[in-house]
């Protein structure tokens, strides 16, 4: 339903109502300013009761514990192979040189020398920096979690494709799951599984499965009818049709799903250590706790390198088309790389046996760049301390405190009316209802004030991120090489563990909202920059040429052709920016906030499932509402542009 003049009329009416409620606040009864007590529903108690029932009366606990035992057995095997935990099969640890060779060969086989250097180099870096054991602890969980997520995602994706009813049920669940903050997942996992590597693996699986389901479904739906016909004509059964025809045809979507799973797994490395996942994340938190920034940065670099390596490897695998070697070729010729790999590995094992350094680099022998990093950090802080002191004063006194007070001052009815007005203007009655229901539920949960503080921090962060991110994106999009460089920086900033950002911002701004906003802005800016670049670079060149031919200056082309054309893509960036900010604001509770995140942290430490989920849903609803509005707007823009 496109907004008609009638629609905008109602939107204006709702806006007037919102303004009336806000400015007439002194006339309003208490119950219209904040939800009255009788309206606040005990959602948390209901959820807790449901969980208690599942856990004790329904015996779900035995089921989850049985599942986690399987996961634990697998974890023990990988833990033995990778870092020598004393478990079956008791043959590990594999020397680091062998794993580095394997990574190198995998890179070469998939894409050639450059990927080989990246993959091999990553593992050499890990070994030489003395982080081998931690990195292997992390990887031992990831190599178990990834196949589980992939199989689970594939299975659910196929089910959803087979049964439209299942898809209808699954879709909203996936939407919520992808906008729930990480901590909200963890509390039920602690209740059902306990703590330790298996809990870390399971929370990672849960977190990384949704994109796999979506990509599988997308891929299966895109399989052309002709291919299926061909399969049927060849006389395949239904199972053969699925396993031999449909899934191979949907290969590239499914492999992109695998890639997403790997990235999500790495994103959980640090957070999952809150419930006992060992390895890099756990070490990182310990080091930050002792204020060792240089060493933490080293670990951050390792996580980024691992992410980039696994991302490139899995993408190369996804893009590589299946090769069909000539059947007549000799075995040795066809499996040349396999043979070289086996030979090198054997050499590696032998070498490592005689040179312990190639087997394991001890912490004492490790290289470190922590000293220079700490010194540089120290210099930077001394240098810009006067500027940040002023900035802190300015932002707190003139921007943040007034804004926060304003958000908290607004009656909740005025906020709901305002959202209804925005919703109506974007998408008519349905959107207005969506907005009111989402925020209405937050009001009913009794966390209104804290939710408003979260909204305030997210909105100011996204605005600041846009102020910096948009010009940066426009500037970068002018030259392709520059765009590639900036995109690389975006990738790095995004995969770098968010916890490391928290310490420098506290050192610069102190424990207050400025530090929180500064940390969130980094994450909020990344998607804005990325999608601005992508949007501008993908404007059809004919359009730009046409504009230039009709004598438009560069400024005019930018403002009247390129930006309007890029807007739908840029809106996707804005959408992601809000999502990332919501997640980061929750994590910024570790700086010190008074919002939903702080309560979430408390719920985690007291393993209060109900409270954690209610808070998680509140955050998810904010994300889903923004998503709905921006998608609506973006569709309108696309329709207007005729693309």
């Amino acid at each position: 339903m496109a907004p008609s003049s009638h629609g905008t009329g109602i939107a204006k009416l709702l806006l007037a109502l919102a303004l009336g409620l806000a400015f007439g606040k002194f006339l309003l009864p208490e119950g219209l300013i904040r939800p009255p007590d009788w309206l606040v529903l005990p959602f948390a108690d209901w959820i807790n009761a449901a969980f208690y029932f599942l856990q004790n009366d329904l015996g779900l606990m035995t089921l989850t514990r049985a599942f986690s035992d399987v996961v634990e057995w697998l974890l023990d095997v990988t833990a033995n192979l990778l870092y020598g935990k004393s478990r079956w099969p008791n043959i590990g640890p594999i020397p680091w040189i062998v794993i580095a060779i394997t990574a190198f060969m995998a890179g070469y086989a998939l894409k050639g020398w450059r990927l080989a250097a990246l993959a091999g180099g990553t593992f050499v870096w890990i070994a030489l920096m003395g982080q081998w054991k931690w990195a292997m602890e992390t990887l031992s969980v990831i190599v178990v979690a990834t196949p589980f997520s992939v199989m689970l995602g594939l299975g659910m994706g196929v089910l959803a494709w087979r049964s439209p009813r299942f898809e209808r049920v699954l879709n909203p669940i996936l939407n919520i799951a992808q906008s729930l903050p990480h901590f909200a997942y963890m509390i039920p996992v602690v209740v059902f599984i306990g703590v330790g590597p298996k809990a870390g693996a399971i929370v990672t699986i849960i977190f990384s499965v949704p994109p796999m389901i979506r990509m599988t479904l997308l891929g299966l739906k895109k399989v052309p009818e002709e291919v299926i016909e061909a399969g049927k004509m060849a006389g395949s059964s239904r199972w053969q049709l699925l396993s031999r025809v449909r899934i191979p045809t949907a290969r590239s979507e499914i492999l992109i799903g695998v890639n997403q799973v790997i990235m999500q797994c790495l994103a959980m490395v640090v957070l999952a250590s809150f419930i006992g996942m060992p390895g890099l994340g756990q070490k990182l938190l310990q080091l930050l706790q002792a204020l060792k920034i240089g060493l933490s940065v080293e670990i951050g670099v390792t996580i980024v390198l691992l992410a980039v390596t696994l991302d490139r490897l899995s993408k190369a695998w996804a893009l590589r088309l299946p090769e069909h070697g000539e059947p007549s070729a000799r075995w040795l010729h066809r499996n040349r790389l396999l043979v070289i790999w086996l030979a090198l590995c054997a050499a590696g094992f032998v070498l490592a046996h005689f040179v312990p350094y190639l087997h394991e680099v001890e912490r004492k022998q490790a290289l470190s760049v922590a000293g220079p990093i700490d010194a540089a950090m120290d210099q930077v802080i001394r240098l810009i301390a006067p500027v940040t002191a002023w900035l802190r004063w300015f932002l707190i006194t003139w921007v943040l405190i007034p804004m926060r007070d304003a958000y908290l001052w607004l009656p909740f009815t005025a906020v709901l009316a305002l959202l209804a007005a925005v919703g109506w203007a974007m998408g008519g009655l349905r959107s207005a209802l969506v907005c009111v229901v989402y925020f209405g539920l937050i009001a009913l949960s009794g966390w209104w004030d804290r939710a408003m503080i979260t909204v305030y921090m997210v909105s100011i962060s996204v605005v600041i991120a846009a102020v910096f991110g948009l010009p940066l994106g426009i500037w970068a999009a002018r030259i392709p090489a520059r765009a590639a460089r900036i995109l690389l920086i975006c990738d790095t900033a995004q995969t770098f563990p968010s916890f490391i950002y928290l310490i420098p911002v506290i050192m610069l701004f102190g424990v207050n909202d400025v530090a929180v906003v500064a940390a969130v802005v980094v994450f909020a800016a990344v998607p804005i920059v990325r999608y601005t670049i992508e949007g501008l670079c993908n404007v059809p060149p004919e359009l730009i040429e046409a504009a230039e031919m009709s004598g438009a200056t560069r400024q005019q082309t930018l403002w009247h052709v390129r930006l309007p054309m890029a807007l739908p893509t840029m809106l996707v960036g804005a959408n992601q920016s809000v999502m990332f900010s919501l997640f980061m604001v929750i994590i910024a509770a570790f700086i010190g906030t008074q919002d939903l995140g702080q309560e979430m942290q408390r719920a985690l430490s007291s393993t209060d499932v109900g409270k954690g989920l209610v808070l998680g849903f509140a955050v998810a609803f904010m994300g889903l509402m923004t998503d709905h509005l921006i998608t609506r707007w973006s569709e309108d823009r696309k329709r207007a542009l005729g693309v």
Binding site: G196, F274, Q286, I591
Partner: protein, 314 residues
């Protein structure tokens, strides 16, 4: 490294020849929880190494320091070596009330948690450590967000420290700002050190921070039992929390109720474990100042203090 290993071997031999007065320990691993501060990690490794030297299999798992009591109660982890009265007393007591966990012993060390300042603060406010002097210097600690009042950086809200009540009860010219994590407090201290800005924060002992930033606790009116519940107790007759925190809190060792039967020998050793403030501070120093890995620090500490841990075996 090598000497530690021979010592462990001899300890194992000792344990083998010791009169077998108890049933044999289970071969299942004893799970020891690790948290995110160094003294606890090193101490856990020391005790873990001692238990391993007795022939037990030992494993470590990282957990949240509040949630761990629930895990001990359920037997998911077997013990907890640092139960701080101030920080974890409430969680521990709650778990004890539910059943499944008990105090297996206590350290000689005492714990203290209260308002604290690094030495450069004292130069700016010479009357310290008296709390009235601190209050007179409140203007030194003011920030944009606290207006005219001084800023006290407290620990996370879920540590339940009642600092705001204390400020109110003692009529202090301060505002309590809660950090979200201990790391946030250290980051602020580290930044304040570079510019020698006066700062007063929540801190505790034994703690690595004492070695990095020398400092002192603020002396509030002395803690008396009931000061937190009975208005009559303390400085003012009509206020609660009108006193400092206890200066000598306990540091207990908790164990899963099932541990006694499953690993009787290990349990007997655990109940003898006891460390002093100086020994705990030494463990933290090996990691936080000397930059050792916790596992290596545990070995180094055992090499340097054989009498201490051997006494637990007997």
């Amino acid at each position: 490294m090598k000497s530690a290993r021979t010592m462990l071997a001899s300890a194992a031999a000792l344990a083998l020849f010791a009169p077998v007065a108890w049933a044999e320990d289970s071969s299942d691993p004893i799970i020891i929880p690790l948290h995110n501060w160094s003294s606890q990690i090193v101490m856990s490794h020391v005790v873990g190494d001692v238990l391993a030297s007795m022939g037990n299999s030992v494993e470590y798992v990282t957990t949240d320091s509040q949630a761990v009591y629930e895990s001990v109660r359920l037997g998911d982890v077997s013990l907890e070596l640092e139960v701080w009265e101030g920080a974890f007393g409430a969680s521990f007591d709650a778990a004890v009330a539910k059943g499944g966990i008990h105090a297996a012993g206590a350290h000689t060390a005492v714990t203290r948690e209260d308002w604290w300042y690094p030495m450069w603060t004292k130069e700016a406010c010479p009357g310290l450590p008296d709390w009235k002097a601190l209050n007179d210097c409140a203007a030194l600690f003011k920030t944009p967000e606290t207006g005219d009042k001084g800023r006290f950086l407290g620990g996370p809200v879920d540590w339940l420290k009642h600092d705001a009540e204390k400020v109110d009860a003692l009529g202090m010219n301060f505002v309590v700002v809660n950090a979200g994590s201990a790391a946030a407090i250290w980051a602020e201290l580290g930044a304040a050190e570079k510019t020698k800005t006066p700062i007063v924060v929540f801190n505790w002992t034994p703690n690595f921070a004492e070695a990095v930033w020398p400092g002192e606790f603020v002396e509030f009116p002395k803690w008396e039992a009931g000061c937190n519940t009975d208005p009559a107790v303390g400085l003012h007759a009509d206020k609660i929390y009108d006193c400092g925190n206890p200066a000598t809190g306990y540091l207990k060792i908790a164990a899963w109720d099932g541990m006694k039967d499953k690993w009787p020998a290990a349990y007997a050793t655990l109940s003898k474990v006891s460390l002093t403030n100086a020994q705990i501070a030494e463990m933290a120093k090996l990691v936080d100042i000397d930059g050792m890995e916790p596992e290596d620090a545990a070995k180094a500490w055992m090499d340097a203090n054989p009498d201490v841990w051997k006494a637990w075996l007997g």
